[in-house]
């Protein structure tokens, strides 16, 4: 048995960004199969265009259009592409100086082996069939040994539908491990037990257990089995619907201080109207049917009132 429990986790977010006038022109151009660069104060044509001049730091305004053909100035083989790269099969990343430009840009080059790439080789943009105004409108470069040299020309009209924003989906995959202490907690939960750990320095009991006592930094070593009953220390009534919500509002999320623990943990309070939940209310864990248990806190469906008299404020005032 591994020391820790782990599970795959994917963190994903679509980043939405405004482009501004410079990158907006560049991305609008790509959508129209045109490559927009800028002439800097030193007279160099740079693609993609920098927003500010690298020497004078003034906003750039001398836009030019360069060719969709160019020359490889450096390259590297990508034997094991990662998710999201322009090609899913092995390919080359290359620095390509487009005809009419003086600085190279990074993009993929579609060749089937490193033998087919060399510095100085001629390449051409392969445009994506569907273009939206993003760097990925360039699907990749492809060899074009016979391509004639192109030049830079002053940028003409790009139409009246400029790109003003980009959406970049980002997705990262992890194998997320629980700490050894959290792993013990989840393994116990899978057996219907709730365990915490006691700090040997200050004597506080943490549930779920942590690798070190946050008060004094001492590793928590002594395992403590905890009661399934406790006291509501504080709570909130959830009235706002949100994506993925499983219970119809209003309902109550509360901090429950299990008897014998020094840290309250968050769970649901059900089986009672939301407006009747109160600080000091005594509650007990309601477990799902055993066949539904796993290594998850969701084995406890919710907490439910025990019907005991409310706890004295003094019993939980240090745990708020």
């Amino acid at each position: 048995m591994s020391r820790t429990l782990s599970a795959p986790v994917t963190v994903a977010f679509d980043y939405t960004r405004s482009t501004g006038p410079v990158l907006g022109r560049f991305l609008t151009g790509l959508r129209e199969k045109r490559v927009v660069g800028v002439r800097t104060s030193e007279g160099r044509v740079v693609v993609p265009p920098p927003e500010f001049d690298p020497v004078t730091h003034q906003q750039v305004d001398d836009f030019v259009e360069v060719a969709d053909t160019g020359t490889v100035t450096s390259w590297t083989w990508v034997p094991e592409p990662v998710k999201g790269q322009p090609l899913a099969r092995p390919f080359a990343f290359a620095l390509v100086t487009l005809d009419g430009a003086d600085a190279p840009m990074v993009h993929a080059l579609d060749v089937s082996s490193p033998d087919q790439v060399r510095t100085g080789m001629r390449v051409r943009i392969r445009w994506a069939e569907e273009r939206v105004g993003a760097i990925t409108d360039i699907a990749c470069f492809e060899p074009a040994e016979d391509a004639a040299a192109g030049t830079a020309t002053q940028l003409g009209d790009l139409g009246d539908n400029p790109v003003t924003g980009v959406i970049t989906p980002v997705e990262l995959d992890y194998l997320y491990a629980a700490s050894p202490e959290e792993s013990s907690f989840y393994r116990a939960i899978a057996e219907g037990r709730i365990i915490g750990q006691r700090c040997p320095t200050c004597g506080k009991v943490y549930v779920p257990p942590r690798s070190a006592c946050p008060a004094d930094g001492t590793p928590t070593t002594d395992e403590v089995e905890l009661s399934h009953t406790g006291t509501v220390t504080t709570f909130c009534i959830v009235n706002v619907p949100f994506l993925g919500q499983r219970i119809t509002p209003p309902y109550v999320s509360a901090y429950v201080l299990l008897d014998g623990a020094d840290i309250a943990f968050l769970h649901l309070i059900l089986d009672i109207p939301a407006e009747e939940v109160r600080m000091g209310m005594r509650v007990k864990a309601v477990w799902k049917p055993r066949e539904e248990w796993g290594t998850t806190i969701e084995n406890i469906s919710h907490f439910s009132p025990t019907g005991e008299p409310d706890a004295d404020y003094d019993t939980y005032k240090h745990h708020l």
Partner: protein
């Protein structure tokens, strides 16, 4: 300027850390080592500063969770950088310069193996023109290596020489996760990976953590027989675009070295996650041929994200503590293809 020295250092490096990416469990024994080296408790530390990233941890506010390893009752004076902890050390050094505190503990941590490191690092690039292509770290380093080869500045043999020396030196480093030199010929006979890079040209994906203790003046002398006094520390940054800078150079490294002052350096620990980058750095830092480079084995022997640089500082400081050297240099890098660089020089005094 106040005299500030490195007086404590602890590290862990491993291929795969079997634990939570918050790394609390790794940090507790590191802090304990630092307390043992100095005879201090956590209450003697005036300022705490960490380097880590949520992108590596796969969760938000992972550095806050790591604070558990300190113990924060009573509250502590604490900060964080989303960079290698070498930059956290810079912040701590500044904090001590302000006179507000006399001591600091700097730490970094990261579980690179939880995700696909070379892919995750694409998120540090330009979000409009680079990140959507997911140019991985190894590919960007490959473009840089090829640029130098094409320009005749180095060749595959020179890169293999760096790797062979590093892996040979790493045999004496108990923390190295890749070690064992052979010969340049043997390394060159190995297959290409990301042409022009072979696997030994690339730092291994490494999990780990490290901590360094800084102290000013008498506080340093009280706890260390031969403190590694910081004589210069400086950092600079180059443009992030791969197309508008000469990839065979690193002006930011050169400026940092000039500002820190490298004269008389005997030992340099350079944070070069790819073999050719050591060659770039040696040139930019103006290191003479007789300077001993990376006696620890360097990043090619182990490169935990967010401490690969801080460990270079610690390894260099150790040379002063042990009396092996009088003037040493630690360097750290961040960003694609040596974009950001920090240089710290230290000396022993008799």
């Amino acid at each position: 300027m106040r005299d500030v020295a490195v007086v404590g250092f602890a590290q862990r490096q491993m291929e795969e850390f079997d634990g939570s990416p918050t790394c609390v469990e790794l940090l507790v024994p590191l802090f304990a080592e630092c307390y043992e080296q100095t005879g201090w408790t956590r209450r003697d530390i005036g300022f705490w500063c960490s380097g880590s990233s949520d992108y590596l941890a796969g969760r938000s506010f992972s550095f806050v969770q790591a604070v558990d390893a300190i113990g924060v009752i009573p509250p502590v004076n604490e900060s964080h950088v989303e960079m290698d902890a070498a930059w956290a050390l810079y912040e701590a050094w500044l904090k001590i310069q302000t006179g507000e505190v006399d001591t600091a503990l700097v730490y970094g941590f990261g579980k690179s193996s939880a995700g696909v490191l070379r892919r995750t690092l694409s998120l540090q690039l330009d979000p409009y023109t680079m990140t959507p292509l997911w140019p991985d770290t190894v590919s960007l380093a490959g473009l840089q290596a090829r640029a130098g080869i094409d320009a005749g500045l180095w060749d595959e043999r020179a890169m293999a020489e760096v790797a062979n020396r590093s892996l040979t030196d790493a045999e004496k480093n108990e923390y190295a996760i890749r070690k064992g030199g052979s010969s340049v010929e043997e390394l060159l006979a190995r297959p290409m990976y990301a042409d022009p890079l072979r696997k030994h040209d690339c730092a291994p994906v490494t999990d780990g953590a490290a901590a360094i203790v800084l102290a000013a003046g008498d506080r340093a002398r009280e706890v260390c027989d031969r403190p590694a006094w910081i004589t210069g520390i400086s950092h600079y940054v180059d443009p992030i675009s791969m197309g508008t800078r000469d990839l065979t150079r690193s002006p930011s490294a050169a400026r940092a070295a000039a500002a820190a002052g490298t004269e008389g350096v005997e030992v340099a620990e350079l944070h070069a996650p790819f073999s050719h980058q050591e060659l770039v750095l040696k040139r930019e830092l103006g290191l003479a041929d007789d300077v001993v480079v990376n006696p620890s084995g360097g990043a090619l022997a182990g490169n935990p994200m967010f401490t690969g640089g801080l460990i270079r500082f610690g390894e260099a400081a150790k040379k002063v503590w042990q009396g092996d050297a009088s003037r040493v240099l630690g360097h750290a890098t961040s960003g694609p293809a040596l974009q950001q660089n920090i240089v710290c020089t230290m000396e022993g005094r008799n």
